[in-house]
Symmetry: C2
Subunit: 415 residues, 2 copies
């Protein structure tokens, strides 16, 4: 009987736990800083244990007693967790981006014969699995890939879409607010490296249309250039990864950025006591122009006479509060995951589209698409069907073939 | 005989040393990381010593042997230097902005009966001295100040102005390139706090016209709000500090920002081998619009077929190189310092203007206006005419009266 430890029982672990629960000959323990969170996840299953891990020492003790660890904790903790896994010789699986510090542990993980599998969720995760399946298939047919575009977004399903943003918060709201800040987005377009500063990121968009689901746009996501080497695309002239939103979202968001609403470095004087309307006036350009997307801003409450009520707030914190209040998923709402790959060879362009609609409540498309790849990889590992060791992301056929096949059973399939 | 140590003998210490050299009963030692820099400054004066300080230990040893220290070293070193001054009970004078870490040393400096005088150069420096003289004068006449604006710029004098930017590098070029990055500029306008994000900083400008010198514009400088308390302006409704440039500079710079040329966080792929023209294409928006200020950009060489030649360069580093090459002061060029205060009471608005023209070579207006306040303050201190102790900036009449009087002898006088 293999023992698996799941660290973190928060939102979006519903499908992960549901899948893990039915793996034969496996003992799952769910650990969370709040015991009730862990208990709630474990409750439907008599054979799953729930424990509390209040600090890093308790996390280490729990790791010591297991065979493999799945971490859904904040990514900043993953290197520390990986070091415990090295010390006690345990496998580790996460859905988080592979960090440089994690990469540096590769040799040590190899020498201890353990697997640190990162980026095995949705995006990153299903993007790698599906892209590599298409890329290898085309390359095996002797075609040379000259263009690779990949877009993904977590959105609200059309049936639950009842606001002018055509968006609801289905993931970490802070990440939505500060998305694109930091280094310039970088991609390759017709052989030219393109650098896009934050100030025009949300107007540098690619239109994407999906039958039955309407129009989307994608803004460039971080550094796309690294995927040439990662995916083995030597002759590629266009290489772009982007985040999907509805067109109105990007247009209205672009204006929010121009006004300064996404700034997270400036403390607004007396922020606790001023109103949203007053902040609007403080950020208003001297030309006193109204934003073109005033309706969208009003919907967020950015023109309301209500007090902001946050001490030492930055504009980004105010915007996050407004979004959490006014773009909130309701219990009956359905979310939607959209992923699109557009791959060009010298002969053809193929477009692969994935749409997953949530079923309401905790059965979200986000939870399903993040949790299932991780859960399936765990089963493969527990059943000794993965020979890979060291620090990895799921780009090998050993991983993507069985995981994609299993996802298909859950209607997660590209068209 | 009092002993004074000058740390740093770089550019803009010409007038500082010239003034210090004629203070009676004072022994000046000039210390620099490069002995030849210190020797060059000391050379005209038989009674000035030049020494080398290769590391922080040697700086401490030099501080131990003196009575007062003037530091023209990079501001990041000043807290360390101040701690040595505390340890060995020496006064310290700088032209740099007062940092929070420096402020924290106030009580200790008081208890040791020493003065740490910061912000005693041009801007900060002469701005404080002159503003406080006007403010106290108006307040002493019973007037209530409702508006305070202060603008300053280091520019090229009209006779040496021969480029479309109407600008040449007369100060730290890196600071010119990254000016305005970080927190939003904050000021008060007709009773409303205004927050200006970097993305529209150089288009949020105030026009300033000066007879015989033509038109300027000022963009907001950091956080102006703190000056209400600092300058004792309780009833102020407008409070704005800004940096002066010629109008074309701000307009062309605004476009550089929008294109991403001032970004200092993104490493340009293969930056050493691509040309300026290629970077221009990489940063070009997808709409493929040309900038409106193409002539200005061409003047900087941003469209040239020359290789950039800097390894792992950010766009900001490339822009800095282009500016240093193409907006360079020539030996015969004259620089120009412009400072304007606009102070409104309930009865009147007074405008005070200072223009200082450099005399070419090392006799720059920048060196004169940064160095003389520091040198005069040093003389006052050496002659025991300053009773202030602790961490200070020059806003008391004890300082501004004698310093402004002496500056007037050097034709540094507001009109």
């Amino acid at each position: 009987m293999k023992k698996v430890l799941l660290l973190g029982a928060g939102l979006s672990t519903f499908h992960l736990v549901e899948y893990l629960a039915q793996i034969p000959d496996m003992q799952l323990t769910i650990a969370d800083a709040l015991l009730e969170n862990a208990q709630k996840r474990a409750a439907p299953y008599s054979h799953i244990k729930a424990i509390q891990v209040g600090d890093i020492e308790q996390i280490e003790k729990a790791i010591e007693k297991t065979d493999a660890v799945i971490s859904m904790l904040p990514p900043t903790l993953h290197v520390q967790i990986a070091k415990f896994c090295l010390k006690h010789q345990k496998h580790l699986l996460t859905a988080s981006y592979l960090s440089e510090e994690m990469k540096a542990l590769h040799q040590e993980a190899m020498s201890k014969n353990i697997l640190f599998l990162n980026e095995c969720g949705l995006d990153p995760g299903i993007d790698h699995l599906s892209a590599m399946a298409y890329i290898h298939d085309l390359q095996n047919r002797g075609e040379t890939i000259v263009g690779f575009e990949s877009y993904c977004g977590g959105l609200v399903a059309p049936l639950s879409d009842n606001n002018p943003w055509h968006y609801k918060i289905t993931w970490n709201p802070r990440n939505v607010v500060v998305a694109g800040q930091g280094s310039m987005a970088t991609y390759l377009q017709d052989g030219v490296v393109k650098l896009v500063p934050y100030g025009r990121l949300f107007q540098t968009v690619t239109p994407i249309s999906i039958e039955d689901y309407g129009n989307f746009v994608a803004y460039p996501n971080r550094n796309s250039l690294q995927y040439a080497e990662l995916y083995g695309l030597k002759n590629v002239k266009t290489l772009l990864r982007g985040t999907l939103r509805r067109p109105a979202f990007c247009a209205a968001w672009q204006e929010l950025i121009e006004w300064g609403y996404t700034d997270d470095t400036t403390i607004i004087p007396n922020s606790e006591n001023i109103t949203y309307q007053q902040l609007f006036e403080q950020l208003q350009p001297n030309s006193a122009l109204s934003p073109l997307y005033l309706e969208h801003w009003q919907y967020l409450g950015l023109l309301s006479a209500e007090k902001i009520g946050i001490e030492d707030a930055t504009p980004a914190k105010v915007l996050q509060k407004a979004m959490q209040q006014n773009l909130k998923m309701q219990p009956q709402d359905q979310d939607m995951i959209v992923m699109v790959h557009r791959i060009s060879t010298e002969k053809q362009t193929i477009t692969a589209k994935l749409v997953v609609i949530g079923e309401g409540g905790e059965r979200t498309a986000m939870s399903k698409t993040v949790g299932l790849p991780l859960a399936i990889a765990t089963q493969l590992l527990v059943e000794n069907k993965i020979t890979l060791r060291g620090v990895q992301i799921p780009i090998q056929s050993e991983l993507y073939q069985p995981i994609l096949a299993e996802l298909e059973r859950y209607k997660i399939v590209f068209k």
